[in-house]
Amino acid sequence: MNDQNNHNSDSNGRSSGLLSKLTHGFAPSILHGCDCQPGYGEARGVSIRVENLVKSFGGNPVLKGINLEIKAGEVFSIIGPSGTGKSVLLKHIVKLEKPDSGTIYIDGQDIFAADKENAPRDYRYSMVFQSSALFNSLSVGENVGLWLREKRICNEARIRRIIREKLRLVGLQGKEALMTSELSGGMKKRVAIARSLAMNPDLILYDEPTAELDPVTSDELARVILGLKEQLNMTTVIVSHDLNFALYLSDRVAMINPDGIVEVGTPAEIKASQNPVVRKFIYTTTKGLKGDD
């Protein structure tokens, strides 16, 4: 970034405070003498605090007072059986759902507060959906560059460089011209990750990233996510029922069941947990492997 840009930015290369909010998504880069908008720099991890989150659908309670704290910059997984509200919790964090009661704080800011309803965010988040949710009418490169082009974050030459760079990060260099229908399940997931990374998100969320993937592809995906953790400074939240995947790459893991969060700890703590709900989940997901012992 040039001097002019640094003048308005904090140590992470992000413009701060009111200026950041005013320029978020609007300021044309040309005014700042840079080929990208101010604020489009390195990611900074954000902290998340979920407080007494309650959500019902048609009178059927799905989240019953969830409390959770996720530290800035950590890889945090939420594991548990299907139908326990893991994805619903994730959708609340990205404001695709509104809670019946309770709230979520991101970097100490109540994201559901009335004055935050339509206010520009001073952090960026992105979500990798279970179905990948790639746009079929667009090529791989167009999918990855969609946000950059729609928000006019950079000039076209820089956008193309960013697309190449993000695809390289997920091991798909040179695949820009492919259509999404030509991709395998694992490649689609990686393109969806590259699309999320194009935002330089402070917070990235994965909804069942290993769903419909074979164990080898799941392992490749885990290595991609671990590689991103080492290279980028962002908070990662993963929702999965794949215990092995979550324990392999997470700093901390939360176990959820229909009554709420039952245990939070490091992978080692989860493995050593004596909580019967956790023991049962670990036993049912690993009993096939133990059968030969």
Binding site: V94, L96, Y125, S126, M127, S131, A133, F135, W147
Partner: protein, 257 residues
């Protein structure tokens, strides 16, 4: 008592749907200001609605004009008044059949595909993905479609009017019962049709175009329930568009009389 409860719920649902449709329409119109930076998307939709529909619309118009001339010409010939056929076919094509039949064709061909496409995006979380990318689905999906239909349907109707009238003229000329020369047919038609009639027909087409895009997008956004839901939405969009076109046609005709 139960019947009142059911009736009440139906009315509430209807009011909610009407409110949502008005809300979506206003939001879509609000995003018209973003049209200049969405020209490629609008051009794609214009091509799909306009150029994609043009051949079949012209074929349809040709046969509508021909059958209209055949039916009325034969009747008029009984009384020796078949020279009026130019006015009858011309006015019918310009005021009613051109706008209505073209719009029904577009609703079946394009409205259904809009509902299916947007519905599939809703079901497969692509709309949610747009929201997390801070891209308004209404601006990205509904605005280009509405604008394209508002422009393309009247343009299509101009072609269907011309082709329908030409088809009628052809039958009037060659049918041994009618036998009205094309010059007579043409003069008769020109005397009967006023510029206002053409403008009214095009105004109707514009309104119908708006209905088709709006219904297609609204039904698409409300889709749920996987592949079956997408199928239901497709059918619903066509039926709802047809109904709204017929209802709007009556009121527009009444207003412009």
């Amino acid at each position: 008592m139960k019947i009142f409860a059911v009736l009440g719920k139906r009315l509430m649902d209807l009011a909610q749907t009407a409110g949502e449709m008005v809300g979506l329409f206003l939001e879509t119109v609000y995003y018209f200001k973003e049209a200049p930076r969405n020209i490629p998307a609008i051009a794609r939709q214009l091509s799909e609605v306009g150029i994609g529909t043009l051949p079949i619309a012209m074929l349809m118009a040709l046969f509508i004009g021909m059958v209209l001339a055949l039916q009325t010409g034969a009747e008029l010939a009984l009384y020796g008044t078949q020279e009026a056929i130019g006015a009858i076919v011309g006015l019918s094509m310009v005021k009613e059949l051109g706008p209505v039949m073209t719009s029904l064709l577009v609703a079946g061909r394009v409205g259904s595909s809009m509902a299916a496409e947007v519905g599939a995006m809703e079901v497969y979380e692509e709309i949610d993905a747009l929201k997390t990318l801070e891209i308004s689905p209404v601006r990205y999906l509904a605005m280009p479609r509405l604008l394209a239909c508002l422009l393309a349907v009247p343009a299509l109707v101009v072609f269907t009017m011309i082709v329908g009238i030409a088809g009628g003229g052809l039958i009037a000329e060659i049918n041994p019962v009618i036998q009205v020369p094309f010059s007579v047919y043409y003069d008769n038609m020109i005397r009967a049709i006023e510029y206002q009639d053409i403008l009214k027909g095009l105004l109707k087409a514009t309104v119908f175009g708006g209905i088709i895009a709006h219904v297609g997008c609204y039904v698409g956004f409300k889709t749920s329930g996987g592949a079956r839901g997408i199928g239901r939405s497709t059918t619903r969009a066509v039926v709802l568009s047809f109904l709204m076109i017929f209802i709007a046609n009556y009121f527009l005709t009444r207003l412009m009389m």
